[in-house]
């Protein structure tokens, strides 16, 4: 077996291209480890270790990446081993297993300690460590006991890490043990994963937990030879989550990623396939091969795969150029000579299938491939045509890249015309690049005007310059203009800037500006003076004074009317409350004036509250007195009438009672005595 690190070095850095180029219908990985990432992971795990725990992570992690560690580590492990600690034994046992020829001496006490830890009372982590240590050290263990301890532990602590540790432990037990219940936990755990926008699938506990879950689930599934209940899309989402982080905070995190990567590349059921184009996915005559790298998650090439183009069609027309064309494997890169099918330039949609192993996941990939070509300019004809068609056009043919010898003259009676054809250099097919511009550059003033040349229905490019029509663009400046043809497109390998000819344009002199100003956008503009809002026109003082008098005049009328009606203050009762009321009322009106001139609403409300309450109390008193006076007058009158009426009634009744005999004689008291005036 050759050194895996060589393979890793061959895998080139193409993540950016991958993300731009790969479009997915079925889910394909958006994040994966590239060679540099794997190298970085290796570097993190290769850091010199300080204690047994870091030694364990480094040694076992590197072994998962397929890298062998120096045998001196064995000595370090043996010297740092603490036989009374289960954890220490676990690290030592696992690390020694990864090293070749490293044996940890085991005593009976050690064995008893490890066996004793397998019980319901230990934590899941302790059970895992002791079972792994027993298994790595080759000591016998009672699988059924472990299973029951694990089940008890899971029912007590339902958190994710416990179940993951249980899965890991179960993968070290004998295959005859009843692992069905624990196997079902994989499905329950998978249901607890968080789906982030359909791309990532991870536990809320974080990356490390997700990675440990993947390695534990596949370890157990391989052990019992039953496919894990994870759908293909879920596997890809897990790949995205685990490999999205390219620098790891801690050794344990790096270890978990390494172990997840190893289990995803080496298990019996699901192997995610990473397809990336080597370099940009662009093909031209100089580069006729489309090269793809097909690797697993650890960037190891899948040489057993067979890569097939299911269909290749243009992005616009969807007509298939290729169908079922196989890639050939060369130096662990799959290549296909696409130019052999003589595609026209443009973009093509490739649908690639990777077969060869039923375990492959995400083995249908969509790729966008660009085919570029070189352009050639044919039949460049320049002519000056008279507007009135009196003389035939003089056509000059110019060959690229030469320049026309004589300059062309065009004044207001003539049009300057240009016609050319753009073809593919090799196939001769007509092309219509995105950018075909004709630029006229005045060498003296530095002015340039750019026009677009457009193709007609036969893909023949035509450009016509009418000097009279276009004089505004030129500012009517006559002179020699250098004519350039500019051409470019994403699928052209040779963009063109060609000085075709010189054109002398003559405009009518009157229209030319006296000073030739360079048209720049970035000169300071004229300053804007801020116009303050002008106050509105007021009417003349005479008018407003006159109207003031007019508006106040009805008051005089009111006084006159009141005097005529005989309104007076004769009913003015002289009592303190009356005075207070009137003073308070006057004060309120005065406050209104002061509010208008000096105060704001809050102050006014404050003073109004004080004055108002005084006025209210005084006014209440005054009006009550008035009311009482009015009522008392009235009341006195009523009482008088009543008493008068009642005396009359009394005398009548008295006389009546004398004439008749009643069974009971009422002791009669005259009513008038009851009235108190």
């Amino acid at each position: 077996s050759h050194d895996p690190s060589e393979n890793i070095l061959i895998c080139l850095f193409s993540l950016l291209v991958l993300s731009m180029v790969l479009e997915t219908q079925a889910l394909t990985p958006t994040h994966h480890l590239t060679t540099t990432d794997v190298a970085r992971l290796q570097a993190v795990l290769s850091q010199p270790f300080t204690d047994l725990k870091s030694a364990y992570y480094s040694v076992v992690g590197l072994s998962k990446l397929g890298i062998l560690v120096a045998d001196e580590t064995c000595q370090f492990i043996k010297s740092n081993l603490d036989p009374s600690s289960v954890e220490s034994l676990f690290y030592a046992a696992e690390a020694s297993q990864a090293l070749s020829g490293c044996e940890i001496p085991v005593s009976n006490d050690t064995r008893d300690l490890l066996l004793a830890t397998v019980s319901e009372d230990s934590t899941a982590s302790q059970i895992h460590q002791s079972v792994s240590a027993l298994s790595s050290l080759g000591l016998p263990l009672a699988s059924q006991e472990v299973v029951s301890a694990l089940k008890a532990r899971i029912s007590k602590e339902d958190n994710v890490l416990t179940i993951i540790l249980a899965l890991q432990t179960a993968s070290r037990l004998s295959q005859q043990a009843e692992l069905g219940d624990i196997l079902e936990e994989i499905e329950d755990l998978a249901a607890r994963l968080d789906d982030l926008s359909g791309v990532y699938l991870q536990f809320e506990e974080g990356l490390e937990t997700t990675a440990l879950f993947v390695s534990a689930a596949y370890a157990l599934s391989d052990h019992v030879d039953m496919e894990p209940p994870l759908k293909e899309d879920q596997v890809i989402q897990l790949v995205n989550s685990i490999f999205s982080k390219k620098s790891w905070d801690s050794l344990s995190e790096a270890f978990s990623v390494a172990s997840a990567a190893e289990s995803l590349s080496n298990n019996r059921f699901h192997v995610p396939v990473i397809v990336s184009a080597q370099g940009p996915a662009a093909i031209s005559h100089s580069q006729p091969f489309l090269r793809l790298q097909v690797t697993d998650v650890l960037c190891q090439p899948l040489s057993s795969a067979s890569v097939l183009v299911e269909s290749a069609s243009t992005s616009s027309s969807k007509s298939a150029i290729l169908s079922q064309a196989p890639f050939t494997l060369r130096d662990e890169v799959f290549e296909l000579n696409f130019m052999a099918s003589q595609p026209a330039s443009g973009y093509y949609q490739f649908s690639v299938a990777i077969a060869g192993d039923s375990r492959f996941v995400a083995n249908h990939v969509e790729l966008k491939v660009k085919v570029s070509t070189r352009v050639a300019i044919n039949n460049m004809d320049l002519s000056v045509v008279d507007k009135d068609q009196s003389t035939g056009p003089k056509t000059t043919r110019v060959e690229y890249p030469t320049k026309a010898k004589a300059p062309f003259m065009a004044d207001s009676h003539q049009n300057f015309a240009m016609a050319f054809q753009l073809v593919d250099e090799t196939t001769g097919v007509e092309l219509t690049p995105h950018q075909t511009f004709v630029r006229l550059h005045n060498q003296k003033t530095g002015q340039e005007v750019v026009f677009v040349a457009e193709p007609d229905s036969k893909n023949l490019y035509k450009f016509e310059l009418d000097t009279t029509e276009r004089k505004t663009e030129f500012d009517s400046i006559s002179g020699t203009y250098a004519l350039y043809l500019m051409m470019g497109d994403a699928t052209l390998e040779n963009p063109i800037l060609w000085n075709v000819a010189d054109v002398v344009l003559k405009f009518l002199d009157e229209e030319a500006p006296s000073t030739i100003q360079a048209k720049t956008l970035y000169t300071p503009k004229p300053e804007i003076q801020h116009l303050f809002r002008e106050p509105e026109k007021k009417p003349p003082t005479v008018v407003s004074n006159a109207f003031t008098a007019l508006v106040l005049s009805p008051f005089l009328l009111l006084l006159i009317l009141w005097v005529k009606l005989g309104a007076n203050i004769s009913n003015f009762t002289l009592s303190p409350s009356t005075f207070l009321f009137h003073i308070g009322h006057a004060a309120m009106l005065g406050l209104m004036y002061v509010y208008w001139t000096h105060l704001n609403m809050f102050q006014t409300m404050k003073y109004l509250a004080i004055i108002g309450s005084l006025t209210f109390l005084a006014g209440n008193r005054m009006l009550a007195q008035k009311a009482v006076k009015r009522y008392s007058n009235c009341f006195k009158l009523i009482l008088l009438l009543l008493s008068f009426a009642s005396t009359r009634m009394e005398s009548i009744l008295f006389r009546l009672s004398e004439s008749f005999t009643f069974p009971y004689k009422v002791h009669y008291v005259p009513f008038t005595h009851h009235i108190e005036n």
Binding site: L550, F555, L561, L565
Partner: protein, 125 residues
């Protein structure tokens, strides 16, 4: 009261309305108590003030529009409050306002006027 048009079929319209008006004025002069006449004079004063303000606005322009509005609203508000006072004081309406004595009506009038003045002075600017 005998209506004028019952007298004959060919009375002119203007003379009918003139007779109506003179009748109305007679009735007013004789049957309205003095207190109400005082209030009516006040109402006329308020009305004229409002009219003259509006006239100014129409003729000269709305330059300090907020001042015009506050003055006009003062007139309208005062008019309404005075009308309310008149209704409540009128002895013929006593049955409708059993719980409201004339003094209470006057107190309400004063309070409402205070609020109106506050608003008007705030707005006059």
């Amino acid at each position: 009261m005998l209506l004028p048009f019952q007298r004959g079929p060919f009375r002119g319209r203007t003379s009918v309305s003139l007779t109506l008006i003179s009748r109305f004025v007679e009735e007013y002069r004789s049957s309205t108590p003095n207190k109400l006449k005082v209030i009516d004079a006040y109402l006329l004063y308020i009305l004229l003030t409002g009219v003259f303000q509006f006239l100014y606005c129409v003729l000269v322009g709305t330059f300090p529009f907020n001042s015009f509005l506050s003055g006009f609203i003062a007139c309208v508000g005062s008019f309404i409050l005075a009308v309310c006072l008149r209704i409540q004081i009128n002895p013929q309406n006593k049955r409708d306002f059993l719980t409201v004595s004339p003094e209470r009506a006057f107190a309400d009038f004063l309070f409402a006027h205070t609020v109106l003045h506050l608003v008007v002075v705030n707005f006059v600017g």
